[in-house]
Symmetry: C2
């Protein structure tokens, strides 16, 4: 029987996603503010967990945080040719302020390369100032026509790193460091989402970048979701904003810059990778609440016995587990089970008078709903058991997502096969086509090149579209 | 001899402040974005420390974080009469987006009571939904004419709490809980800034509030700085936005709301409370770097001996002290001393070949520049000694600021005395005047009622302006 309020995935995946967002109380449609959502406390707590995991890695790799203005003079956007083409159509403009019309409008940042480039031009003087490694946590705005909670909203939250380097080699090293040590490491280890690391095609790269790297994840409907991007901007922005430095030989050189970002889209990726028809599923390392305790009792006498046992049991957990005791008195255990399932808490512990007599508790794993994930275990050694189980769940979620991706990825050798494969997942194939070829394929199949994986085969093959011999493989898929 | 780049306080306090901001590398003027600053890494790290201290307390008192839209339909501002009067003149307006003129402009939030009120009206249904205790970390914008880094900028960062309650009593309890347990506790304990807790006068209260509470700090020029405010909004916003709930007797009631915020102004308060003519001074509990180690050597052989000793010494510090080893090779120790003094690191540890021979190190306290704060101590037991010294510095800074405030606060009984006292600090006096009286005093003295302290005398006295007998005392001061 389907859970109330949740459309089964098999019936309507798209509606299932919206139902999860609503039933797990993650977000509300802003309605009165076009294409925006409110990040409700349960949803925002996921973002806070993502921020912590990323911020730790960003700092561990030598970066510091700063904060640049929300508003950008409109003329700044125009300074880099591809960049203006990419972003100008979707900006929001501030034309009045303090009761007066402005001489030059500002745009609300859609991304900050231009305004940060302006300051870097002032700050960078000598090779001794390099590398400059700065990250910013901020809100950004892109006036999108079609929006979906977390996946695409006009305002969203993100981090954007912006770095300056003396050499192309150093900029490339930075771009890949972020891809591997920050993004892939966090998304795979903490979010339990396997990703393919690769290079974007010319068609899909960031407006103004030399090369864009990305991590791509597969959702449960077989579509791809770009979970993070890291761009080597070459000298494009350095030339547009005059970011130069004096080198060891006293010669003035243009610098090399990078930028990289992940956003609240990751919450969408989290939902669509792990959740099921019962509700949200959160991997333990990311979960704001890892264990919820539901005390079971029928009267005040039982309540006081049970709550005392709960106190004793959880006293040991402090600092080791993130837990919550659901002692709300006006709700039935069944109601609580349902609510915590919807909200994706990894482990539920039930304890009632009979469990206390037997010195045991009942445990339910969120990743295995129903009987399969339920067990009775002794109270003795419970803390260590729960910690181990959380780790087991973390690994199980990753393995399940990886297995799903593998069974939904196929090597294809003809365009016909590709067309069929992108209906169900990723199509891997040899590719030597042009940007125009890729556009034509997109029109015909709604699939694009998600990335040119960094892992490439050692032998050559024939391009699926042009028939040319090539050693380059790509992943085609429909994408969010 | 004054430090290069820093105007002494006695000469020009206002310029001294700007010099500290620049020399400690805390911020840069945005110039191209009116009235904005860039929070440079050193300045932003202070904000991160402030966020951590406040966020912990906000959560410990039962609140959760969420995120609401940046943009507010302009008409929303108009719904609460005092609120529109207070904020409408200083908003920035978005009138175009996605290449088209908007039917109704949005304003960039100057504060979020109105947009959050709209959602609370949807979310709150029953007394069981209350209290609703939500906080938001966000950027806000007020188009100010005269700006100063951190103290007043068109865009600034803050947290704003917005809560809903069933009764006036509960809303009042919340307002005071935030004032005492979150704001005063954090600012006094972590920032070492003593504050006076009080109520705002009618003239100074938040537009739309029933009662505004605040914490007021004294800067080193004797002026007041409002370091945080907590507002009991009564039913004003509940009526404007129709925030109602069904009570236990099935009757529909208007709710009671509160809002409270502190901002990046606190960085300005930090600078102006503790810093000196040598640069920034940061209290140890807040300091991103608490101890900086400067190795002293004249050649490579000495360098390797010294660095090995530094490694050994600091291995023990990990997880106990926030420290940095300044091993930059192209700079002299003197240059480094100067830089870390400017940046306000609480303790500097110097270690050279002679210190290693003697088994000692040199320690310099930032709060006592020059000889006074310098000592030689054994390497043995150094970790515990440094930890104790950090705590001692924390207390010393608080005591010094408190002593300063006390010697610059006077009870005044005539208007003439008040005029003189506000030239040098806080004037405490009996008050039974009207809002018009207060406005006249402001015109004549540039001082306003900073607050009606919660600590009130037990006996009556005569109002300094009207001569009426009253039991109410207030603090007059010039303010930032």
């Amino acid at each position: 029987m389907p859970k109330e309020g949740i459309t089964p995935r098999a019936q309507d995946y798209s509606q299932w996603y919206l139902d999860i967002v609503q039933q797990a109380d993650l977000a509300d449609y802003a309605e009165v503010v076009k294409g925006c959502i409110v990040f409700k406390p349960t949803g925002y707590a996921l973002w806070e967990a993502i921020q912590r995991g990323l911020d730790d890695r960003i700092k561990a790799t030598g970066h510091v945080n700063a904060y640049f203005p929300l508003l950008i003079p409109k003329s700044f956007l125009m300074k880099e040719a591809e960049h203006v083409e990419g972003f100008a159509p979707e900006v929001a403009e501030v034309t009045r302020a303090g009761g007066e019309d402005l001489a030059e409008p500002y745009v609300i940042r859609p991304t900050s390369e231009t305004i940060i480039g302006y300051f870097y031009s002032k700050w960078v003087r000598s090779y001794r100032d390099l590398p400059l490694l700065i990250n910013q946590w901020a809100n950004v705005m892109r006036w999108e026509m079609r929006t979906r909670p977390f996946l695409r909203t006009t305002e969203f939250l993100w981090q954007e790193g912006h770095t300056v380097h003396a050499t192309e080699e150093d900029a490339e090293r930075e771009t890949l460091l972020i891809l591997h040590e920050v993004y892939a490491d966090f998304v795979e280890k903490d979010m339990a989402i396997p990703v393919i690391r690769g290079l974007k095609s010319e068609k899909e790269k960031f407006p103004g970048a030399l090369r864009s790297y990305c991590i791509e994840a597969m959702m449960q409907d077989g579509r791809a979701l770009q979970a993070g991007t890291s761009h080597n901007l070459g000298q494009n922005f350095a030339r547009a904003f005059d970011i130069t430095y004096t080198d060891q030989h006293n010669t003035i050189q243009y610098a090399w810059t990078t930028s990289w970002g992940v956003s609240t889209r990751l919450i969408g990726a989290l939902i669509m990778t792990h959740s099921d028809d019962e509700g949200l599923v959160i991997p333990p390392r990311l979960a704001p609440t890892q264990v919820v305790v539901v005390p079971i009792y029928r009267n005040d006498a039982e309540r006081s016995v049970v709550m005392e046992a709960v106190q004793r049991m959880t006293a040991e957990w402090k600092g080791l587990l993130r837990f919550k005791v659901d002692d709300r008195d006006n709700l039935t255990p069944g109601f609580k089970f349902n609510e915590w399932e919807l909200k994706g808490v990894p482990i539920r512990v039930e304890i009632g008078p009979k469990d206390i007599e037997k010195g045991s508790v009942a445990i339910a794993r969120r990743d295995q709903p129903g009987r399969e994930g339920k067990s009775f275990v002794p109270q003795e050694g419970l803390t260590a058991r729960l910690a181990a189980l959380l780790e087991e769940i973390q690994q199980a979620l990753y393995r399940r997502a990886l297995a799903f991706r593998e069974t939904h990825t196929a090597d294809v050798t003809t365009y016909e096969e590709l067309k069929q494969q992108v209906e169900r997942g990723f199509a891997r194939c040899y590719w030597a086509g042009t940007m125009e070829d890729e556009k034509r394929i997109q029109e015909e199949t709604r699939a694009t090149i998600r990335c040119i994986p960094l892992d490439q085969p050692q032998q050559a093959g024939r391009c699926i579209y042009t028939g040319k011999e090539t050693t380059q493989q790509v992943i085609f898929a429909r994408a969010y």
